[in-house]
């Protein structure tokens, strides 16, 4: 097997939807909300992206609709858990179910299709060639030639990192996650902050969904997120809810997915290569878990 630029290029493509969703998860985690509705929210984004691009003929309007629809969908979590006091995990489980039903229902009623919808007329996002970067040997082909949203996702990592660690807003947000009562007593508007973070996270999931349905492929299929939202939840844990950490965790999954395809070409059984990313994660969790230990309330009681 050769390690060539195409492998890393494929990895970067594979990681982008996971990265967007994981950034959303990291933001929510920081605000003290365990958001596992990423899978469903991203799926809504996939559908809205395809619908938007199909009816307007402009993939960017599709992206915009994906962001809007996912943000609106995540309002369910905000209203349910922040305002009405329901359990965020339970609401998320329901939202994932709802997203599968809603998108399949709309696929049937809007497009008259069952299972999946694709059409040569459906416009996806064009690849961008970066003029100067492209010339760099080895690195050029890896970094250039992706859908614009791939670059947006890197920008999102940087913006989230700055917001979290270099702004008063981020400081307040992190305080809110660690001790809501103390943050509230210092004048942090808990409800408003949490709404903002959940809805912004929804928008990020929408970008992830748009990249999946209009960037990686150009179609919508029932349940097409296929567990990427769950991988994102794991990436949030693995990356300790820090933007750069989350990026590295998503990179691990992207690489494992891309490598898996290669290894299959070498005659390794498909089951082994499919399982590879998850084995890698379990090992990574085992090794890195000491840091996470303090975050676990039940575990905290144990140690004392």
């Amino acid at each position: 097997m050769t390690i060539d630029p195409a492998l890393f290029s494929a990895a970067l493509r594979a990681l982008t939807p996971i990265l967007f969703a994981a950034l959303a998860g990291a933001l929510c985690q920081r605000a003290g909300i365990f958001n596992i509705s990423l899978e469903g929210t991203m799926l809504v984004g996939c559908f809205a992206g395809v619908a938007g691009s199909w009816f307007t003929g402009n993939p960017w309007l599709g992206v915009a609709l994906a962001v809007a629809a996912s943000a609106a969908f995540s309002l369910v979590l905000a209203v349910g858990s922040v305002s009405l006091g329901g359990d965020a995990i339970v609401i998320s489980v329901a939202m994932n179910l709802l997203a599968v039903g809603l998108t399949a229902f709309l696929l049937r009623t809007v497009f008259g299709a069952q299972g999946s919808f694709s059409d040569p007329e459906l416009r996806g996002l064009d690849r961008v060639r970066l003029p100067l970067v492209e010339e760099i040997p080895l690195l050029g082909p890896v970094l250039s030639g992706h859908s614009p949203l791939v670059y947006v996702s890197w920008l999102a990592v940087a913006v989230t990192a700055v917001l979290l660690y270099r702004c008063r807003w981020g400081l307040r947000l992190r305080g809110l996650g660690e001790n809501p009562a103390a943050a509230a007593s210092l004048g942090v508007r808990v409800t408003r902050q949490r709404y903002l973070v959940v809805v912004a996270g929804g928008g990020l999931c929408g970008l992830g969904g748009a990249q999946l349905a209009l960037g990686n492929v150009t179609l919508f299929a029932e349940n097409m997120t296929a567990g990427r939202g769950w991988i994102a939840v794991v990436a949030v844990m693995l990356g300790a809810a820090a933007p750069v950490g989350v990026f590295l965790a998503a990179l691990l999954f992207g690489l494992a997915e891309a490598l898996g395809f290669r290894l299959q070409g070498l005659g390794l059984p498909q089951q082994a290569t499919d399982a590879a990313p998850y084995v890698v994660t379990l090992i990574a969790l085992f090794v890195s878990s000491r840091r996470l230990r303090r975050r676990d309330p039940v575990e905290g009681a144990v140690d004392r």
């Binding site: 369910v76 995990i89 009623t109 939840v233 969790l285 676990d296 009681a301």
Partner: protein, 366 residues
């Protein structure tokens, strides 16, 4: 908390709300909600639908018990999906390999399933207890991993055999099958219904009549208080997850032992999240879960009837999602209303001057 109204009102409200929501959705999409409802209810009387509902509910009941065990202790066993499928696969292999006198074969198969479920969740349990890894994360991984393991186990190099374009384990011998209760042309109810009912009784006894159950519920309500009371939290987590996994392991058996007799590529999937949803709907109560499982199975089985009258059957999934969503919210709302009533009652007994109940007295309500 104790009043029967507080227990029954929320699910009733939630179901009513979900039905309303779906009716409006159907109206917008140009279908008639009444026709849809008629088709759903009408299908119960035809063919084997009613028996199918009971059979499917049997599996749903078992997965939901597994989920409820975790919920009682604030553990979220997302891995039920992987546990029951892998367990059914191993049980099919073990049950197919041994030929024992009737009864014994079934027992061995069931033990194999329970042991596999427990062993699979055991990985997550050990990671949680010794390395502090959240069970949510590790079981998501284990679910994904179980697909690979199952595909490997039923490949033709291992235990599977090719049948047309399907692949599966060899058929179980007669001694490893569970006979059902035949209702003639209306179908056959799985014999495993009795096992599911026994599990429900066992669950109730474990939770309400044993020290373990008491400690489990205490740990769920307040880990710190339980720890102070001398409960070994690590042991509780380990044992609870293992029992949950063992119960989950049995969930695939009604279909395996009662109808399919083989684990093949099209063995039912997706019960894991159903279990979580049904346990929530039934509020971790064995009787409530039974109603939840029947409702869920009824909704699932009505898809065909809906398609037959031209109503998009995907509305069923929307309905299921909105039921769970509204049941969570409804419980919270009813709890708040009851709390306020309680405060008013207490406030009325106190001498004048104590006045309005202070928000502080609602401590922990938010």
């Amino acid at each position: 908390m104790g009043s029967i109204r507080a227990k029954l009102l929320p699910p009733a409200l939630a179901i009513a709300f979900a039905v309303l929501l779906c009716a409006v959705t159907l109206l917008f999409s140009g279908s008639s909600p009444l026709e849809a409802l008629g088709a759903m209810v009408g299908s119960l009387g035809r063919g084997t639908t009613a028996v199918d509902v009971v059979n499917t509910a049997t599996s749903y009941y078992i997965v939901a018990l597994a989920a409820a065990l975790g919920f009682q202790m604030n553990l979220l066993n997302i891995g039920i999906e992987g546990q029951y499928r892998l367990a059914a696969c191993v049980a099919a292999i073990v049950g197919g390999a041994v030929t024992l006198p009737f009864g014994l074969g079934v027992v061995v198969t069931m033990l194999a399933a329970a042991a596999t479920g427990a062993a699979w969740v055991g990985i997550a349990a050990l990671l949680k207890v010794y390395r502090g890894v959240s069970e949510v994360i590790s079981t998501i991984m284990l679910n994904a991993l179980s697909f690979g393991v199952i595909a490997y186990l039923i490949s033709s190099d291992m235990f599977g055999e090719l049948r047309g374009n399907n692949i599966g384990t060899p058929y179980l011998p007669e001694s490893s099958r569970v006979p059902g209760f035949s209702f003639g042309s209306s179908g056959t109810v799985f014999g495993m219904v009795l096992v599911a009912a026994a599990l429900g009784v066992g669950y109730w006894v474990l939770m309400n009549r044993t020290r373990f159950g008491f400690e489990l519920r205490a740990s769920g309500k307040s880990p710190t208080a339980a720890a102070a009371g001398g409960v070994n939290a690590k042991k509780m987590i380990l044992v609870t997850l293992l029992i949950s996994g063992a119960v989950a392991g049995l969930a695939g058996l009604p279909e395996l032992l009662g109808r399919d007799h083989t684990f093949s590529l099209n063995f039912p999937a997706g019960y894991g999240f159903t279990g979580l949803a049904v346990a929530l709907l039934g509020r971790n109560n064995p009787v409530g879960i039974a109603f939840g499982a029947l409702l869920w199975a009824f909704l699932d089985k009505s898809r065909l009837a809906l398609d037959n009258v031209g109503v998009p059957s995907e509305i069923v999934t929307i309905m299921q999602g909105s039921i769970v969503l509204s049941v969570v919210v409804a419980y919270e709302l009813v709890r708040r209303v009851e709390l306020r009533a309680e405060q008013r009652r207490v406030g009325g007994q106190n001498p004048p001057g104590s006045g309005e109940p202070r928000p502080v007295s609602a401590g922990g309500a938010v």
